[in-house]
């Protein structure tokens, strides 16, 4: 009887821990701060809408992410969770890659007419997207050697996974799509 009670308690503890780990975490963007000149808020809309305009700056301590643009829109999947942001108008993006010990190892600087930052399968992903024939640009700088890799013009969509620190460059041609890592 006591063994059964222990196993039930253990299962409850496991379930609670699991629910805590996966409740809001994977769908919500990491901690952030947004500054701008103007913001419109509409909590009646589903999903809740926040629109920032003029001198918009999005910063997150995770990988020192910084996005500047003219307009930024947020999407929320649930209360207390911003799951994605869409930036347009002179979008400039920067972040710092780290090794396992948290030491900065490389810097990523990008620019694009359209940028989305969202949670995909529980991982934060930044997408730089071509618009009106303007392709995204991306420069990766190795902080130790100062060597730069310029990926400007190499693709129509550049997808950078901040969790796995992998970059995917895609070329969109008509309906088909090619990609390379």
């Amino acid at each position: 009887m006591r063994r059964l009670l222990y196993s039930v308690l253990a299962m409850c503890a496991l379930l609670t821990a699991g629910a805590g780990l996966f409740a809001d975490g994977p769908t919500a963007l990491p901690k952030f701060e947004i500054t701008a000149d103007i913001m419109r808020l509409d909590l009646k809309k589903t999903p809740r809408s926040l629109v920032y305009e003029r001198n918009v700056v999005y910063t997150s301590p995770l990988y020192q992410t910084r996005i500047t643009c003219n307009r930024l829109e947020t999407n929320a999947t649930s209360t207390n969770a911003i799951s994605a942001v869409t930036a347009t108008g002179n979008v400039v993006f920067a972040m710092t890659g780290e090794d396992e010990k948290g030491k900065p190892t490389y810097r990523v600087n990008g620019a694009a007419p359209l940028l989305t930052y969202s949670m995909q399968n529980g991982e934060p992903v930044i997408r730089l997207v071509k618009q009106n024939d303007i392709q995204p640009s991306l420069i990766i700088t190795d902080l130790a050697s100062k060597a730069q890799t310029d990926l400007t013009g190499s693709g129509d969509v550049m997808e950078y996974n901040l969790q796995t620190q992998t970059l995917e460059v895609k070329k969109v041609k008509m309906a088909s799509e090619g990609s390379g890592k």
């Binding site: 952030f32 500054t35 701008a36 000149d37 913001m39 808020l41 009646k44 926040l50 969770a81």
Partner: protein, 193 residues
């Protein structure tokens, strides 16, 4: 000889006019000081002004739907201008006859003109939306019954886990729609005490 003195009357007339004009001009420059004005009459105490302490009132009085209910620690007012100056304000604003917002502030002015009411609050203003418990803090807060909108300055708004701050903002009565202007900032909200 006769011709020589023919211009004499003209010369005399012109000289007299010159003296006259010079006299007038001098009088303008050195004008006598104005007579001293009588001392200002002491104003009689205005019987229409009144002070009060621990007062509460509703608007419109004895009528539905109710627009506001104000409790104030002390204040003053006048029957002629329809304005009440308030200190230590606790107020409930109504929407469609139901309590919508509970607002507290250090000072305020409540004014009524005909059917229109205006409430201007200042100093540590805190407004709590009573359905969703959204919290708004501001240094200045103005509400016009005719527009049914709130205007706030130096605002901090906490709603749905986010904190928003700005120089000024314009809100719907239920605080679900807002437009923020100047030094707008959004971040994860700290727990509201």
């Amino acid at each position: 000889m006769r011709r020589r003195w023919a211009y004499l009357p003209w010369i005399v007339a012109l000289a007299s006019m010159g003296f006259l004009l010079a006299g007038c001009a001098r009088r303008q420059i050195h004008a006598d000081p104005p007579p001293p004005s009588p001392p200002p009459e002491e104003k009689a105490p205005d019987s229409s002004r009144f002070d009060f302490e621990g007062y509460s009132f509703v608007f419109p009085p004895e009528q539905e739907p109710r627009v506001w209910e104000v409790k104030t620690r002390r204040g003053s007012g006048g029957t002629d201008d329809g304005k009440l100056t308030l200190e230590g304000v606790e107020c409930t604003l109504y929407r469609d006859g139901k309590p919508a917002l509970r607002v507290t502030a250090r000072t305020g002015v409540a004014a009524v003109e005909g059917k229109a009411a205006r409430l201007a609050l200042a100093g540590g203003v805190k407004a709590v939306e009573l359905t969703r418990h959204l919290v708004l803090r501001a240094e200045q807060f103005t509400w016009l019954s005719s527009e049914n909108r709130l205007r706030v300055a130096k605002v901090r708004f906490i709603g749905d886990g986010l904190e928003h701050a700005a120089d000024s903002a314009d809100f719907s009565m239920d605080l679900t729609e807002g437009a923020f202007q100047g030094h707008v900032m959004t971040r994860s909200a700290p727990a509201e005490p």
